[in-house]
């Protein structure tokens, strides 16, 4: 119970410079480091007797983008909200940059940023005040210059003094990006991050995500936009009815799920999640371990 443990003083204070978007190429996985930036082990979550997530284990390396996909109600948001500490961990463990979320929660969260699917800004605070508050929250010094950079990058400069309550859905999303990027997190969790963004916003977001990853941040990207996942993610994790049905690269998915070479993530997704729906927690892979290429057909 980290009720009164001190906050870790070493909040990262890196700075980035906007870069043009590289040509969309298939992402290649970074070389695995010794300790993953994010490690989830045997995580389970139950709501009033209903299993939402069952025995999920996986890890994300520094510099890696993991695409989290699954049908509605698969447990993606529950998993992300538990990893970032919004929901308490019922079972299992989460380690962020070496800090246990259960034992050293504040230190673990110092390295983390979370963008929910529908960010809610403060009605009476301006856009710039949101950044000021975030800087205070994460102990970012010399934040003004970086805040201005981020506002420019996400095309919010004109809205600098607009109140949170006046922002449209897309603007709120952009503000959430700015706040998340401000302290240069080492682990970034995003739930449907591009919903509500205009094409320019989507492009800026994709560039920013790639850039953050290339600077060594581990990113989990949850989305139903499979093309986006295919474009950005080094590996994919398919959740279905609270269980992992596959985790690995696209090529591994094709091999494991007997999909033809060159088949898209959409086809792989369909193959991985087909079967009667409406049940609960009846995934076909009991192990749910983070073994590359593990899928339904790999189940013993």
């Amino acid at each position: 119970m980290p009720h009164d443990e001190p906050v870790a003083p070493d909040a990262p204070q890196r700075s980035t410079v906007p870069a043009p978007e590289p040509a969309p190429t298939r992402a290649t996985a970074p070389a695995p480091a010794r300790a993953p930036a994010l490690q989830v082990e045997h995580f389970s979550k139950t709501y009033e007797g209903t299993e939402a997530v069952t025995d999920v284990s996986f890890s994300v390396q520094a510099g890696e983008i993991l695409g989290l996909v699954g049908p509605n109600g698969a447990g993606k948001t529950t998993t992300l909200r538990s990893i970032c500490g919004v929901l308490p961990l019922q079972q299992g463990s989460v380690t962020i940059c070496g800090a246990s979320l259960a034992r050293d929660e504040a230190r673990a969260k110092t390295n983390l940023a979370w963008i929910p699917d529908d960010p809610q800004p403060f009605d009476s605070l301006t856009v710039f005040e949101h950044l000021r508050f975030t800087a205070a929250l994460y102990g970012v010094s010399d934040w003004e210059r970086r805040a201005e950079e981020l506002l420019q990058r996400f095309e919010l400069t004109e809205k600098r003094d607009a109140l949170g309550g006046e922002l449209s859905r897309g603007m709120r999303q952009k503000l959430a990006f700015c706040c998340a990027w401000l302290h240069s997190p080492r682990v970034l969790l995003m739930d449907e991050p591009l919903s509500g963004l205009d094409p320019r916003g989507i492009r800026a977001a994709k560039v920013a995500i790639r850039e953050l990853s290339s600077q060594g941040a581990a990113v989990i990207l949850s989305s139903h936009l499979l093309v986006l996942i295919e474009e950005l993610a080094h590996r994919i994790l398919i959740l279905d009815r609270g269980r992992i049905v596959f985790v690995g690269t696209l090529d591994e998915a094709r091999a494991t799920l007997s999909a033809p070479a060159g088949s898209s993530l959409e086809e792989i997704f369909m193959a991985a999640t087909e079967g009667p729906r409406g049940g609960n927690g009846s995934g076909s892979s009991p192990g749910n371990r983070d073994a590359p290429g593990r899928g339904p057909s790999a189940t013993p």
Partner: protein, 573 residues
């Protein structure tokens, strides 16, 4: 715990300052528009009248010089009431309440839970300063030394939020365990048996003979019971004992006594603050539920759902087959949608209203048990008018519930007036049925009936439709979205006054236009056509009924126009 600031994380203190500044800034921005100025001015006048009236009455009141012991006792009882209300309020804020815009941010940020508790304690204490000022001014005139009383009340009011927060945190922790226990108990049958018991008792009262009733009421006089309990109850003394320091501080007759008790209260405050901040409870799950619950309630309030239907929203439950009572066409479909919503989401509010009507019928039977025409018709008329106003204000199953669906509603392939009528008609019918049942129950209770009651029953749907149509038309004209604590309170008060005046003005005009021809017809029929009194009444009633019906048609058409005018793009509900 060393290194944790007593008043929490600096970022959260910054947030408090920025939110305060933001609220002021929003207020200033609202004043840029002429309507903002006007409504603010009206609001200021009303606030000023209220606070001024309170201050004047306080200052004009003669200082009361009760004996020391009596003063302390009554102060303790006052504090007990405040404390009990705080504890009761904590039931609806289990865990640590954080607004929806703060909860995800704070829970995912590198903050200690103790920081969050300290932050909420600070916010709650700042809010209680307003209540403290009002109570302090009131106490200042009643206690031996005004300034000590005022300061004492302020210190007390700064302690009360700590009690509330500690209770909420402990309740949140106990909720899961108690929740599991409650699930095992047969709560529905228990509630059913209790409800049936109360109902049977009321029916017994309704049909009991007068002498037996008076004897029964005399035996269970609540005032006599309360006086007996207060006289020297050891249980009450035990309850009041912990409140002695605050009561003594507020009622201190001299500086020595005041500062001695103030020191004790300050120490208690400090200890309570630290202990509450360190309660080792993981409140996240309960807080998320509480935050979502309160966000829903605030959203309903902002939509104007301030009546009973807004407060007592049941958990939606499928499975109830709702009949297509008004046909299977477009009109019937819209009305069915409304009926299904009532049946699945507002059962509690409906049953509560039915109970109120039942109790009112019983009370009116007991209080006015005469077998005369005056009693029969007077009671029915009072129930019809009073009941329509009360139920239509409480059971609001109208456009206030539908503000989030306005985009779809405006795209429905039906005339706006038809949509308007189909939306308000289920509420009108339910109110009419409830009131008709209440009126007939009373007639059965007093054992008398008059044909005029049938006339009153025929007026019920028209009365309810008039009220509901005006209410909804005005609401659609200028939807007021406000919840307590939201910015723009001044403007809201001013705007509410204007809207209420508009509503009552419209109702007054509609009523006059409907009633005057009827009265005129009755008088003319009696004087110039030599019709009997009964015939004149019937003729006058018929003309009024037709007039009210015509006005209702006009109101529905007007409501349709307002629906047509409603701009979804401008809605920021």
């Amino acid at each position: 715990m060393l290194g944790v600031p007593m008043f929490g994380h600096p970022a959260l203190r910054l947030l408090i300052r920025m939110k305060f500044r933001g609220a002021l800034r929003s207020q200033v921005r609202k004043l840029r528009r002429p309507s903002g100025w006007l409504f603010a001015l009206l609001g200021l006048i009303l606030f000023g009248t209220w606070i001024g009236g309170f201050l004047v009455s306080t200052l004009l009141q003669r200082p009361q010089t009760a004996d020391g012991a009596g003063l302390v006792l009554w102060t303790q009882i006052g504090l007990l009431v405040v404390g009990s209300m705080t504890i009761l309020a904590a039931f609806s804020h289990r865990g640590l309440y954080l607004p929806k815009e703060e909860i995800e941010l704070c829970f995912s940020a590198p903050l200690l839970r103790t920081d969050l508790i300290r932050y909420r304690l600070g916010v709650n204490m700042l809010r209680s300063l307003i209540a403290g000022t009002l109570f302090g001014l009131g106490a200042a005139r009643r206690m031996p030394v005004g300034i000590f009383a005022f300061c004492g009340v302020m210190v007390t009011m700064l302690t009360v939020p700590i009690l509330g927060q500690a209770t909420a945190l402990l309740l949140g922790d106990a909720e899961n365990r108690l929740g599991r226990l409650a699930k095992k108990l047969p709560l529905r049958p228990i509630a059913g048996i209790l409800g049936a018991g109360v109902g049977i008792s009321m029916l017994a009262l309704l049909f009991a003979d007068d002498e037996g009733l008076h004897e029964t009421l005399g035996r269970i006089s609540p005032l006599r019971f309360a006086h007996g309990a207060l006289a020297g109850s050891p249980a009450l003394q035990v309850l009041l004992a912990p409140l002695v320091p605050w009561a003594r501080m507020i009622s201190a007759p001299d500086a020595g006594t005041f500062f001695a008790w103030l020191a004790i209260c300050a120490v208690v405050w400090l200890v309570a603050w630290e202990l509450t901040a360190r309660i080792p409870v993981d409140f996240r799950e309960t807080s998320l539920a509480t935050s979502a619950d309160i966000a829903r309630r605030l959203s309903r309030l902002r939509r104007g759902g301030s009546g009973l239907a807004g407060a007592m929203m049941s958990k939606p439950r499928a499975g109830w087959r709702v009949p297509w009572a008004l046909g299977r066409g477009r009109f019937g479909a819209i009305a069915w949608l409304k009926l299904a919503t009532i049946a699945r989401k507002a059962r509690g509010a409906f049953l509560f209203s039915a109970t109120i009507v039942f109790f009112v019928s019983v009370a009116m039977t007991v209080a006015w048990r005469e077998h005369t025409v005056k009693s029969t018709l007077g009671g029915a008329l009072a129930m019809a008018i009073g009941g329509t106003i009360y139920l239509c204000s409480g059971l609001r199953f109208d456009f206030r519930n539908d503000l989030d669906q306005m985009e779809q509603i405006k795209a429905w392939p039906a005339h706006p007036a038809l949509i308007f009528l189909a939306t308000v008609l289920p509420q009108v019918l339910l109110v009419s049925i409830l009131l008709a049942a209440g009126i007939l129950l009373r007639c059965a209770g007093i054992g008398a009936f008059h044909p005029g009651v049938v006339g009153i029953l025929l007026f019920l749907p028209l009365l309810a439709l008039s009220w509901t149509a005006v209410d909804n038309a005005v609401y659609l004209f200028a939807p007021v979205r406000y919840a307590p604590g939201q910015e723009g309170a001044l403007q809201h008060v001013g705007r509410s006054v204007v809207m209420s005046l508009l509503r009552f003005g419209l109702l007054g005009v509609a009523g006059a236009v409907a009633v005057l021809p009827g009265v005129l017809t009755g008088v003319l029929a009696e004087k110039y056509l030599d019709a009997g009194q009964t015939a004149a009444w019937i003729a006058g009633g018929l003309v009024t009924w037709i007039g009210l019906g015509a006005i209702d048609v006009a109101l529905v058409v007007g409501g349709g126009k307002m629906l047509q005018r409603f701009d979804v793009a401008r809605d920021r509900g």
